[in-house]
């Protein structure tokens, strides 16, 4: 096991004829959080997908520990309830964290059995966040985790990340609002043009 949770070397990516980023050298060790910032369309989501293994058309190398990706698409089936969704993730990732507790932590106590389609935008995001606690991966890849969340939700996200860093994990986030977590570095994209 390498000492880094994530290393990239010479990472470049072109999309629709525009160079989004080039020659990125990123390293992320346990306990660190890296915030990717940049204007709309600068390639933050693309970079996260490259790291997650969901976008293979890049040049350079990516070497990452098992990662958990939370993107613009939540990964929550709207037909199922919050509880059912999380149970399914337990089945996939083999963890037995208690679902009820996790839902309570993300502020969804009382909505465990509501079909996700009938939740508000922010509530759906919270169910998505609950995945982070169920699938216990060392590396978190979060694409705009604050979207649709209220102020308590912002605090929740920073809290989750801080705890994760403290227990030896790492986080790689694309955000527009800076997150106030310890050990956070920033990477600016889209500054070249």
């Amino acid at each position: 096991m390498s000492e880094f949770l994530l290393t990239t070397a010479d990472l470049s990516c072109e999309r629709d004829g525009r160079m989004l980023f080039s020659d990125l050298h990123i390293t992320l060790s346990a306990g660190e959080c890296l915030q990717v910032m940049g204007p709309n369309g600068s390639g933050k989501s693309t970079l996260l997908r490259c790291v997650a293994g969901l976008f293979p058309d890049f040049d350079g190398t990516v070497d990452a520990q098992p990662a958990l990706y939370l993107g613009h698409k939540l990964g929550i089936s709207l037909l199922l309830s919050a509880e059912e969704n999380l149970r399914w993730y337990q089945g996939l990732a083999g963890q037995a964290a208690p679902v009820a507790e996790v839902l309570e932590r993300v502020g969804m106590a009382g909505y465990e059995r509501v079909v996700c389609q009938r939740l508000s935008a922010g509530q759906q995001r919270r169910v998505g966040l609950a995945r982070l606690l169920i699938c216990n991966s060392p590396l978190w890849l979060l694409d705009e985790p604050l979207t649709a969340l209220d102020e308590a939700g912002h605090r929740l996200v920073t809290g989750l990340i801080t705890d994760h860093l403290a227990s030896g994990g790492g986080a790689f986030c694309a955000t527009h609002l800076p997150l106030s977590v310890p050990q956070a570095g920033t990477l600016e994209l889209g500054m070249s043009n």
């Binding site: 698409k73 990964g75 089936s77």
Partner: protein
């Protein structure tokens, strides 16, 4: 500083079962998927009976073809939705990223789809046959061929569905990709029924159906998994 446990792989049977259950729950939630193939089959058959003016002889001769073709089409249409919803809400990419071995939940999804399409249609095929004046003696053959042939339809079709799930123009492409693969099943299946009606043996067709189904069970899950991986990568 604490240590984070790397996700441990679940055992394959548990993985299968967890996914299978989830599919069934989804099916119950959106009854659409559960009923669509059956409903399509029966509505279309009634339409045929109506359109042909209810002439028993005209219908009887073509009945095996009608039933088999409609089963094919119903199955193909139900496959279109197999991965689409998961693709749209992002659960598909999570499945591909997290499940290990990845083909197991894929197989579970296909199995669940088969239960609500192929299996259900097999069980109700005798009624379809009777509506079309098929002699009741050939109904067992009809059911056996459907039982053996429909798994192959679901498995082969899933490859096409997986390849086209990310594409806007999925429908047409799916048909172009999938229907050629369906043709042998159609031919063996319907000719077995026709031959039984004519009093000729049907052993060979049944063995062929078995062979096709076995080979699809063996290969399709891996291919579907590969195809899904391609589809979510964008």
């Amino acid at each position: 500083m604490g240590m984070i446990a790397v996700p441990t792989a679940t055992s394959a049977p548990r993985l299968f079962w967890s996914q299978f259950q989830r599919e069934l729950v989804s099916v119950v939630r959106s009854k659409e998927e559960a009923l669509n193939p059956l409903l399509f089959l029966f509505l279309a058959i009634s339409l045929f009976a109506l359109g042909a003016g209810g002439d028993p002889e005209v219908l009887q001769n073509i009945a095996p073809a009608i039933i088999w073709v409609l089963v094919l089409l119903a199955n193909m249409m139900s496959l279109e939705g197999l991965f689409r919803r998961d693709y749209e809400d992002g659960t598909l990419e999570q499945l591909i990223l997290l499940a290990e071995p990845g083909f197991v939940p894929v197989l579970a999804k296909i199995a669940a789809q088969w239960c609500v399409s192929g299996l259900a249609m097999t069980l109700l095929a005798p009624i379809a046959g009777l509506i079309l004046f098929l002699p009741s003696t050939v109904l067992p053959t009809l059911m056996i061929t459907l039982l053996l042939g429909t798994p192959a339809l679901s498995l082969l079709g899933a490859v096409g569905a997986a390849l086209t799930v990310g594409l806007r123009r999925g429908g047409v492409l799916l048909a172009i990709l999938v229907l050629p693969l369906y043709v042998p099943v159609l031919i063996f299946g319907s000719s077995a029924v026709i031959q039984h009606m004519d009093g000729i043996g049907t052993q060979a067709q049944i063995y062929w159906l078995l062979a096709i189904t076995m080979i699809s069970i063996t290969l399709a899950p891996f291919l579907v998994h590969a195809a899904l991986k391609i589809s979510v990568e964008q």
